[in-house]
């Protein structure tokens, strides 16, 4: 066991921990919370509710692998959903253009923040903290009051369900109900697959790990460190825009308080998924399972009757804290073993 642990890369070690934790948790939920969790639809509902979070967490992982962080994503989601809502209802806009708008907002944040972080050497946390406050403030400037989107073509898109064959269940009346996922889930899965491929097999993906692992040696290997950092922020911003639209598609309204604390959930998912804050270590599949673990624990908390709003915040924070400490202990122990 010791030898195997030694031979594992940090990425794989943390990924294994994450996946084991998720399955233990889900099985625990089935055992203690009863049949609800046994239905496939419960699992799909977790996906439906968290499609946007999956996309955001992917972006977050990219930035964290290069050694940075982006806490503006929640604000960008709010800004995207509010802008798109206003555009669709008051601009009488068409759905396709609203998608472009979402992507443009995300890209704009990514480019500006990436430039400030990569080329002006400002701490990513300061830049994106300002970005978060800017996005939240702008959301209120765009429109103060929360409202639902009435646009018909949008509602049609929102109501579209993708049926998952063979996963349905029989309801109380004895009718067969098909299991479904929303469009956002398809987008999220696509993003996960694309990002996984990008990180594993492309030159850019590998340079993300190199830069995050060690800035100096990456530079000596001839990697354009600044461009890599810039690209990670740009991609994160782009994914925040896409995630924002998926979120908008799920809730169908614009509000300044949308997605509050979502950046925190994205960071937590990435960390639970085995991405190291210090950079250089991480895996998109792990992030995906991180989101699932996080939302499963939320579901457990709410179905255990601890429905008050504060429990969610406290459990997420506790879980994040636990994983941060586990990470630092695991890596420290591994270092010691390697030295022996």
């Amino acid at each position: 066991m010791g030898k195997k642990l030694k031979n594992m890369t940090d990425t794989n070690l943390l990924l294994t921990i994450t996946i084991v934790v998720f399955f233990v948790m889900y099985i625990g939920a089935i055992v203690f919370q009863g049949k609800g969790f046994l239905k496939p639809q419960t699992f799909f509902n977790i996906l439906n509710a968290n499609a946007a979070l999956i996309i955001l967490s992917c972006g977050m992982s990219l930035v964290m692998i290069t050694g940075g962080i982006d806490i503006s994503v929640g604000g960008v989601v709010a800004l995207v959903s509010m802008s798109c809502a206003v555009y669709l209802d008051f601009g009488g806009g068409n759905v396709f253009v609203s998608m472009l708008l979402a992507v443009a907002i995300g890209l704009a944040f990514g480019i500006v923040q990436g430039f400030l972080v990569a080329y002006l050497d400002i701490q990513p946390f300061i830049v994106t903290l300002a970005g978060m406050f800017f996005a939240r403030g702008m959301t209120t400037i765009v429109n103060t009051k929360p409202f639902n989107v009435a646009s018909e073509s949008f509602t049609a898109l929102k109501e579209t369900r993708v049926i998952v064959p063979g996963m349905g269940s029989v309801n109380k009346l004895g009718n067969y109900v098909n299991a479904y996922v929303e469009i956002g889930v398809i987008v999220a899965l696509l993003v996960v697959i694309l990002m996984f491929i990008m990180l594993r097999w492309t030159k850019m993906g590998r340079s993300f790990y190199a830069v995050g692992g060690n800035n100096q040696s990456a530079l000596m290997l001839g990697i354009n460190v600044k461009r890599t950092k810039f690209m990670s922020h740009l991609l994160c911003g782009l994914l925040a825009g896409i995630g924002g639209y998926v979120y908008f598609l799920h809730v169908g309204s614009g509000s300044a308080s949308h997605a509050s604390g979502m950046e925190m959930n994205a960071i937590a998912s990435s960390i639970i998924g085995g991405t190291m804050l210090t950079g250089g270590v991480g895996n998109i599949i792990g992030t995906f399972f991180g989101v699932l673990s996080l939302s499963t624990i939320q579901n457990i908390v709410s179905s255990a009757g601890l429905d008050q709003a504060w429990w969610t915040g406290i459990t997420i924070a506790a879980m994040l804290c636990l994983f941060l400490v586990v990470q630092s202990v695991v890596i420290a122990r591994k270092k010691k073993m390697l030295q022996k």
């Binding site: 002006l120 050497d121 300002a130 403030g137 209120t140 300044a256 504060w310 924070a317």
Partner: protein, 366 residues
């Protein structure tokens, strides 16, 4: 002739010396804001002596608002400067920590009944309990940063999310109201004194921190840890403990700010109290010209920076900017400040300045 030249030279040295002083940045910002307000609307500076509902004399006006609300920010800026200097990162959980400390104060004052007619405990006891709790949370942050070596902003992100939930949980999500008038003195006015009390509290805190910095090695040690952790370790300091200590001190500052905050309302709103104050506190440190990546610091500049931030906020309010939209403007200010203070931009600016000078010289010769 030569005498005149000397005077001129002296003047120039004095001016360039002033430019180099760290405290120049907040002073310049203050002057710019003041001039802007003077042009836009001189009534900004009017202070009127009135009487509040209890019949006590109070001074009111925008300047008094700045003095009042800037004070709690100044208290936070003290702790934030130390944390920034030692750890090279910022604590973003101060707003949430204020909610917790404020909730503790009300919990102790009100006991189990959320609307008592009399105080269930002396105010000083409630305050001391809040101090202990806030310092414990500070210690939690400090332990994560110092002993587990987690980046400060990420470590404090934990409390940032959980803090307001914990605050609501302490009081069972009830909204206790303190009816005793003496409790409102801390965030309002003491009868007979027309200047807001927070200003005096801030003055005491500032005095204490200056005495501490002057007569203890705290300032020196935090700076050396911030500049180079390894070499301070080799010199016999304990960087881990010093980082930890700065977070505990910030906890104490948070408790004082929380007392003022809850005293203003004699109640608490968990999701709104001290909202976005972490941004203001970080801004105060940045505006004071302190490097946000740690190292040397100037406490006076930070404290002045806090009042300048409040000046900016009050100015924006006066121009009917919604409170929810404020962060957008402040974010722009932060980015501008940080961009201007990066070494690269400074190099560009100084190169640009030299070019201008050379151009002038060439013209004069021509």
């Amino acid at each position: 002739m030569s005498n005149e030249k000397k005077v001129e030279k002296g003047n120039k040295n004095f001016l360039s010396g002033l430019f180099r002083q760290q405290i120049f940045i907040p002073i310049a910002a203050l002057i710019i804001l003041a001039i802007f307000n003077l042009i836009a609307d001189p009534s900004f500076f009017k202070i009127t002596l009135g009487y509040n509902s209890a019949g006590d004399p109070v001074l009111s006006g925008y300047l008094m608002t700045i003095l009042d609300y800037g004070s709690e920010l100044a208290i936070l800026a003290i702790g934030m400067t130390l944390v920034t200097a030692a750890s090279g990162g910022q604590d973003i959980s101060v707003g949430a920590a204020i909610a917790i400390a404020g909730s503790v104060i009300l919990r102790v004052l009100c006991g189990t009944n959320s609307r008592p007619d009399t105080l269930q405990a002396p105010i000083i006891v409630a305050f001391l309990v809040a101090c202990v709790v806030a310092m414990l949370f500070g210690a939690f942050n400090g332990a994560l940063v110092a002993y587990f070596k987690i980046q400060p902003m990420v470590a404090t992100l934990i409390l940032y999310t959980a803090g307001r939930s914990i605050a609501a949980w302490i009081n069972n999500n009830e909204l206790p109201i303190v009816s005793d008038p003496t409790f409102s003195y801390f965030g309002g006015f003491i009868p007979g004194i027309p200047i807001p009390t927070p200003f005096f509290i801030a003055a005491v805190c500032v005095l204490v921190i200056f005495l501490v910095l002057k007569f203890s090695t705290l300032g020196l040690y935090t700076q050396s840890v911030g500049i180079n952790e390894n070499s301070s370790k080799l010199n016999g300091l304990n960087p881990t403990f010093i980082k930890f200590l700065t977070f505990v001190i910030l906890g104490l500052c948070v408790a004082v700010a929380a007392l003022i905050k809850v005293s203003r309302l004699s109640s608490i709103n968990y999701s709104v109290i001290a909202k976005d104050i972490e941004m203001d506190a970080i801004l105060a440190v940045a505006l004071g010209g302190n490097s946000l990546s740690g190292g040397k610091f100037n406490m006076a500049a930070s404290i002045l920076g806090a009042y300048v931030i409040q000046f900016l906020t009050t100015t924006l309010y006066k121009f009917d900017v919604q409170s929810d939209a404020l962060p957008a403007y402040k974010a722009v200010v932060v980015i501008l400040l940080v961009v201007l203070s990066t070494p690269k931009v400074r190099e560009w600016l100084s190169a640009f300045g030299k070019k201008l000078k050379q151009g002038k010289a060439v013209k004069e010769v021509g």
